[in-house]
Amino acid sequence: MDVPGLCLFFGVIVPSLAVVSFFGGFAWKAIGWARSPVPFHIPITCGQQRSLPWIRSNRLDNPHTPMGAALRVALAVLLFRPLLRNTMTEIYAGPKLTYAPSRWLWLFAVMFHWSMLVIVLRHLRLFVEPVPAWVLTLQRFDRFFEVGHPVIHASTVLFVLGLGLLLLRRLSSPQLRYISILNDYFPLFLLLGIGATGTLLRHYSNSDAAAIKEFVMGLVTLSPLAVSGIPALFYVHLFLVSVLLAYFPWSKLMHMPGVLMSPTLNLANNSRAVRHVNPWNPPVGVHSYAEYEDEFRGRMIEAGLPVDKL
């Protein structure tokens, strides 16, 4: 290894530790969840159950098969479907309550999460050689303004806009400000920082994409190289990404795997048809019929009720 000083620290050591924290922490946390059993079958049902053949059941929101439940989770993950139901409750003199549809959170969340996914996938061009054809296709579809060079991607615009709006939403609503903790603001600012440095790197610095790729390829092949022509801004970007990766498993960002494992969403509503087993089902003392009859036998006989023991 012949990488000098600061470059070694910000270019190799920090990202390596971050990757270890990310994968290690992610696995530790998710395995930790998986180690706790799901003792009871507790899906939240929306819409009609499957019961009588002539009543149409709601297969998407009240699935009765594991496949249906998987589809429900997929729609929650990919389309944030529960947020489409969102309403805003208001009270007026009278008194009168109204529940107006409110889909801003859905919109901002979709903007941010989907653009982030596209951006992460676009970055594969720096990690893989040769660059897969589908990554190039994705980039082509992501073009926003054809004018100028390099082109501005739609995902870049939506990412920054989505994050900004999520932050604005959190700051402008008194209720949201009240429930927010540091952990809610930190990732927003971090991601905005990552977006800003990334955009600057691409559009305003004299960065040499080939040099960056050479450096990144050195990292991922575990043989870091000293590469010239890499701007300091790149190390800032890389550092912020490292912080995000390191922070991820220890934070609310774990909602990503959490939604997949949530027993209220990923179980089918079939608990009367298929028995769900609780591995720790504890024995409990039940007041037995015999004890009950012993206490009330005289009165039962008097009342003409049948008894087991005369």
């Binding site: 946390k29 969840w33 706790s36 059993p37 003792p39 009871f40 079958h41 507790i42 939240i44 049902t45 009609q48 159950q49 499957r50 009588l52 009543i55 709601n58 009240n62 929650a76 529960p82 947020l83 309403t87 009168k96 309550l97 529940y99 959170l105 209720q175 949201l176 400000r177 009240y178 429930i179 903790i181 540091l182 934070s251 609310k252 774990m254 909602h255 959490g258 939604v259 949530s262 027993p263 209220t264 969403l265 509503n269 608990s271 009367r272 048809a273 298929v274 028995r275 769900h276 087993v277 089902n281 003392g285 007041h287 037995s288 019929y289 009950y292 009330f296 009165r299 009342a303 009720l305």
Partner: protein, 541 residues
């Protein structure tokens, strides 16, 4: 404020004051904001007698109004150990502690928040009451960074806060419908209540009924001969109204079906009319069934207290089905009873391999969706009868009623029993009007008195919690002249009576099978002049 009216009476509360609600949170952060415990806002603690008879830890005499709650010396250790144990036993608990992003989608979905504006009643914050302790004691960042990472130290004030706010949650699950991750506040409330119970902090409205269920089989403590008297009295009433003498089979071995319903319907109007409705219907279709005095409670107060207690009380239903040698079980109209039957019973006390897959003896319909648990909801059963034309119904007998339907939380959000009761309702009454879309089906609003909150002493909480439902009822009352609210929950029948009297006066509450019985044409009946409430069918005559 009227004189001599106490905080446990609805009249104590002024409409104007209750509806002056500001949804904007106060300036002071919730972590440092003291909890106000005042008459009308809290439930009485469990009396030592009930708690001891169930063998619950640390039974004692104490009052929430006192400074000292007489917690056991090692209360802190008990709570932390209890949390650890539950994190290991419930994946839901772990995931719900870790994944919330505080997006706020749930915030204004809780009927207690809607009716109070109290920020701790936002479901997200209700969960944070527990989550802040979790972060402090169970996460790496919380241990290292404390309050910076959203952690909070466990103090006696936290216990007081938990008591106040986890008993201002009815485990109705409305918020979780809107949560992008399905975080279920009911699950979190159940965990918190279990933890509180470990240090002897529980409420009498739950523990005393549970103790009664354990001993006498039902939450009201009705003994076997008393239950027989009650059912015979209903049979007399039915005979007076219809001219038909119905049979009342009790503890009958070899019956085909065991019928279990919440015992509240044996004692409290208007549930009693629903109970009479069952008797009339079962007689008319010639059902070979039996009531049980041992398993005389479908409702399960264990659900509001702890999983172990839930299992213990629920075990009686299968045990009695086995003893009586029935083929399957039919369950009456109840909300949380069906949460337990549908989502817990088979897991806790099954497999019910000694029973048969339920088949309607009248229509031959096989209820294969209940093929494992072998228990069918009466709305499913009656909907099947109606669909197959096996009932002669004269819906005109309900013509003076203009009816709306309240979806009860648990059948709606833990089952999806939505269309069955509507199908029955539409066949027995001709004036049916839905409440606004955002307040029914899976978005239904709670009565404000479920999950052990239906007591008197917490009346302010109940009226505030019932406000959203009450105003939706008022809306259809004013728009369509609705005067009857039908519902399939015994708790609703009691609590919504209070809610409607307060927020939508003029609307009375009825069970589904009361309306069925009104319309039911019975073989050998005399001319019907009165409904099951002894009210004339034609008010003009």
């Amino acid at each position: 404020m009227a004189v001599n009216v106490k905080p446990d009476q609805p009249e104590y509360y002024n409409h104007e004051q209750l509806t002056q609600i500001d949804y904007r949170p106060p300036a002071q952060a919730w972590e440092s904001r003291p909890v106000t415990i005042r008459p009308g806002s809290f439930l009485h603690p469990a009396k030592p007698k009930g708690a001891s008879s169930l063998g619950l830890p640390h039974p004692r005499q104490w009052s929430p109004m006192d400074e000292d709650w007489k917690l056991p010396a090692d209360w802190k250790e008990i709570i932390i150990t209890g949390m650890k144990e539950r994190l290991e036993k419930y994946r839901s608990f772990k995931i719900f502690m870790d994944t919330c992003v505080r997006c706020g989608a749930c915030a204004d979905k809780c009927h207690f928040f809607i009716g109070s504006g109290d920020p701790r009643n936002m479901p997200v914050l209700r969960a944070e009451l527990l989550r802040s302790i979790y972060r402090n004691d169970f996460t790496l960042t919380g241990r290292l960074l404390g309050t910076l990472a959203g952690g909070r130290e466990l103090t006696v004030d936290v216990i007081k806060e938990w008591f106040a706010y986890f008993y201002q949650c009815t485990e109705c699950r409305r918020c979780s419908v809107f949560c992008p991750f399905g975080i279920d506040t009911a699950e979190i409330t159940m965990m918190a209540r279990e933890l509180l119970q470990l240090v002897g902090v529980s409420v009498n409205w739950i523990i005393e009924p549970a103790a009664n269920c354990d001993r006498t089989g039902n939450h009201l403590g009705i003994q076997p001969h008393g239950m027989k008297d009650t059912l015979e009295f209903f049979a007399d009433e039915i005979e007076e109204l219809t001219g038909v003498r119905v049979n009342v089979p009790i503890n009958k071995k070899g019956a085909e079906i065991l019928f279990v319903t919440p015992s509240g319907d044996l004692l409290a109007d208007p549930g009693t009319y629903t109970c009479m409705g069952y008797l009339a219907l079962f007689h008319e279709i010639g059902l070979n069934y039996t009531w049980s005095t041992y398993a005389s409670e479908g409702g399960n107060f264990g659900l509001f207290s702890s999983a172990d207690l839930m299992k213990r009380l629920n075990a009686k239903i299968f045990a009695e089905a086995r003893r009586l040698g029935v083929r399957w079980i039919l369950g009456g109209e109840c909300g949380h009873m069906w949460r337990v039957v549908h989502q817990y019973m088979d897991t806790m006390n099954g497999p019910a391999d000694f029973l048969d897959v339920p088949v309607s003896p009248v229509t031959g319909t096989r209820f294969s969706h209940a093929r494992s648990t072998k228990m069918v909801h009466i709305a499913e059963f009656t909907a099947d009868l109606v669909k197959n034309g096996r009932l002669t119904l004269d819906a005109s007998r309900n013509d003076r009623l203009r009816v709306t339907f309240h979806d009860s939380c648990n059948p709606a959000r833990a089952m999806g029993l939505i269309e069955e009761p509507r199908a029955v309702l539409k066949s027995v009454c001709r004036n049916f009007f839905e409440m606004p879309e955002e307040t029914i089906r899976e978005k239904t609003l709670c009565c404000g008195g479920g999950a052990g909150l239906g007591a008197g002493e917490n009346m302010e909480v109940r009226l505030r919690g019932g406000m959203a439902r009450g105003l939706a009822v008022k809306h259809v009352r004013d728009a369509h002249g609705v005067n009857r609210l039908a519902t399939i929950c015994a708790i609703d029948r009691v609590t919504l009576t209070t809610v409607c009297d307060y927020w939508a006066p003029g609307v009375k509450v009825a069970g589904l099978h009361e309306l069925v019985a009104n319309a039911l044409v019975m073989k050998g009946q005399k001319k019907r002049t009165h409904d099951f409430r002894h009210e004339p069918l034609d008010p003009e005559s």
